[in-house]
């Protein structure tokens, strides 16, 4: 059996501060199989985004960060790789989409130049002309018709939705097997966000790309993901297929999260009193969704 694209086992993260070590992730485990779309859902500060950055190896460069646990990519323990080997995976085998498309693109370079830079990760010798031609095809895939104009533009000349499509095209440009989407398009209009997300879903299905979809928005997750992990304060509290989880939320926090959806104006973020029994409710795993054992 082929190993899962991504397998995380018992991942701990803590930060060294003036007042000692603060643990942010208390041992989370998750996996994504080839071509599978998996969501990691939780409120801000629950540890979603740091998980994404650990997978890419971005967080480890911080001297205050202490990372512990297993992160396996296509059966390969990432910590066992040299810095150079690990670096080589970024932008080629795995890539990432960020929250705010416009501020995530460099303001002083044209889209075409930035595409060129991305494509050079996979093919260091690619010329600007070849890169432009390839970028134009990629932009057509994300339904951008006037690709020549877009390639000649700076990010500030394009709309947020357009930049979001550019970012999706860039992320998929080198045919990665894992795409991490960190709150994609949260900074955009709801309608634009919905459009670009459905575009992204079609593309990853077509390319059979595995996706780790990080979001606080259950409505979006339901549309997008096959399987869902709910994370709360650095712990996975519930795990199941999207269908099962939305039909039958079992962990008190998941239920609180779902009740919170329609209330746009008030109520705020669900919170469980850390003195209540619910806070200590164990991980709920829905039927048929266990974590795979490694080859070792």
């Amino acid at each position: 059996m082929t190993p899962p694209t991504l397998r995380i086992r018992d991942l701990h993260l803590s930060f060294k501060t003036y007042s000692g070590l603060i643990e942010v992730l208390h041992g989370i485990s998750l996996h994504i199989r080839r071509g599978e779309r998996v969501a990691l859902v939780g409120e801000s500060g629950s540890g979603k985004s740091v998980t994404a950055r650990i997978i890419l190896g971005l967080l480890q460069t911080l001297r205050s960060a202490r990372v512990d646990g297993l992160v396996e990519f296509e059966g390969q323990d990432l910590e066992a790789l040299s810095w150079r080997q690990r670096h080589r995976l970024r932008g080629t085998r795995m890539s990432m989409i960020f929250q705010d498309p416009t501020s995530s693109l460099n303001p002083v370079y044209r889209i075409g130049e930035q595409f060129h830079e991305v494509l050079r990760r996979a093919d260091a010798a690619i010329t600007r002309e070849a890169a432009d031609a390839r970028a134009a095809r990629l932009l057509e895939d994300v339904s951008i018709a006037e690709s020549a104009r877009v390639l000649e533009s700076y990010p500030f000349q394009l709309s947020g939705g357009m930049n979001q499509r550019v970012m999706i095209a860039m992320a998929l440009a080198n045919e990665p097997s894992l795409l991490i989407a960190d709150e994609p398009g949260t900074a955009l209009d709801v309608t634009v966000q919905a459009q670009t997300l459905s575009l992204m879903r079609d593309l990853v299905i077509e390319h059979n790309t595995a996706v780790l979809f990080i979001s606080h928005n259950l409505g979006v997750v339901r549309e997008f993901a096959d399987r869902v992990y709910v994370i709360y304060k650095g712990r996975i509290v519930e795990h199941g297929t999207a269908e099962a989880l939305f039909e039958d939320p079992r962990h008190p926090y998941t239920r609180a999260l779902m009740r919170a959806i329609p209330r746009i104006t008030g109520g705020g973020i669900p919170e469980i009193e850390d003195t209540s029994d619910d806070y200590y409710a164990p991980l709920v795993v829905h039927e048929g969704c266990g974590e795979p054992e490694g080859a070792r």
Binding site: L56, L58, R63, H87, R88, L89, R90, G91, T92, S95, M96, F98, Q99, D100, S103, S104, L105, N106, P107, V108, Y109, R110, E117, V118, R121, Y154, F156, Q157, M170
Partner: protein, 340 residues
């Protein structure tokens, strides 16, 4: 009209207003001081008639606004009056001394940018680590001493103890270079005399470096601060997530957006170079505007003081227009947007 042209015209207009302000300010300072400028110029032995004649010639009997009007009318014809110290037109004096000073300042300015910016980039790239700490200390030492102290120290070490560079002057006396532009580096090349060019360049190293040192420190500190801020922006994290090499991220992705705020301040720092040139010229006996400037100031030579200050301010404003132009070129937002 393209946005860049419009920007330049706007800046030229503002600079002109500022220059008129400068002329008023310096004119006011020169006229409201106690004492009779004509008497000061002629000395205590001159007769009352002589003083009166000079007062009339300089329009000193007229009301202040009318004096200013005369001054501006002359200025419009390129006439800054006659220096009471050299008895020559001030414009002639300035034309003689300015090129040496300009040459020194331009080389120092280039050193400031070509050494200061890369140091700032390195410092930001290795922030918190030893290269950063070393560069920060050096940069701060650079800004912490006036340039005459650096000039003296450099001269002591690299001209006296280690006789690597000449002690003073612009070029060895054995060379005779016909003056075309007044810039020795250019004149020697025009004359096709490579050895003279080398000699002039060799004389320039210490003074220019002494003049540049505080600017280098300032540019490095500024670039570091702006780069560190840029490093926190999302597009840097995106570049990292794509695995762009760290060096490329520093030199391209983080540097260019940081350069825009840095350049503005570096343009303003040019004022310090213009002023400090006086100090360095004094140490290295550089035959520039400094000796003339100090001499006319000590002799209260009004026309010459006003003329020198005006020329220096005009140079400063020109440099800042050039800086604005550069910023417009590297910042697509200014280059392409319809609003300024």
């Amino acid at each position: 009209m393209s946005p860049v042209v419009r920007l330049i015209l706007k800046r030229l207009g503002i600079s002109l207003i500022v220059l008129v302000g400068v002329s008023m300010l310096i004119f006011a300072i020169a006229r409201v001081i106690p004492g009779d400028p004509a008497r000061i110029a002629l000395g205590p032995n001159a007769s009352a008639e002589q003083v009166e004649a000079l007062r009339e010639r300089l329009h000193l009997d007229e009301p202040l606004p009318l004096q200013y009007a005369y001054f501006i009318a002359d200025l419009a014809q390129g006439d800054l009056g006659v220096s009471l110290y050299t008895n020559r037109p001030v414009t002639t004096d300035i034309a003689q001394f300015l090129p040496a000073t300009l040459e020194l300042i331009i080389v120092a300015g280039l050193m400031m940018i070509m050494i200061g910016l890369p140091l700032g980039v390195l410092s930001a790239r290795y922030r918190g680590a030893w290269p950063d700490n070393a560069i920060r200390i050096v940069a701060m030492l650079g800004v912490s001493a006036p340039s005459f102290v650096w000039a003296v120290i450099l001269m002591l070490i690299f001209a006296f103890f280690l006789p690597l560079f000449p002690i003073a002057g612009r070029i060895a006396d054995s060379f005779s270079v016909p003056s075309v532009t007044g810039f020795l580096l250019i004149d020697t090349l025009l004359a096709g005399d490579i050895r003279a060019f080398g000699n002039a360049a060799w004389h320039l190293v210490l003074p220019a470096f002494a003049l540049a040192l505080s600017g280098i420190g300032q540019a490095a500190r500024l670039t570091r601060a702006n780069m560190v801020e840029t490093y926190d922006r999302p597009f840097i994290e995106m570049a990292r997530s794509y695995g762009f090499p760290e060096r490329r991220i520093a030199n391209r992705y983080a540097f260019r957006p940081s350069l825009i705020p840095s350049l503005t301040i570096i343009g303003l720092d040019f004022a310090a170079l213009l002023g400090n040139a006086f100090l360095v010229e004094a140490v290295f006996a550089w035959p520039g505007l400094s000796r003339y400037g100090v001499a006319v100031i000590l002799r209260k030579d009004l026309n010459a003081i006003v003329g020198t200050v005006l020329i220096i301010s005009a140079m400063f404003l020109i440099v800042n227009i050039v800086v604005d132009l550069l910023i417009a070129l590297i910042n697509p937002r200014i280059r392409l947007s319809q609003r300024s």
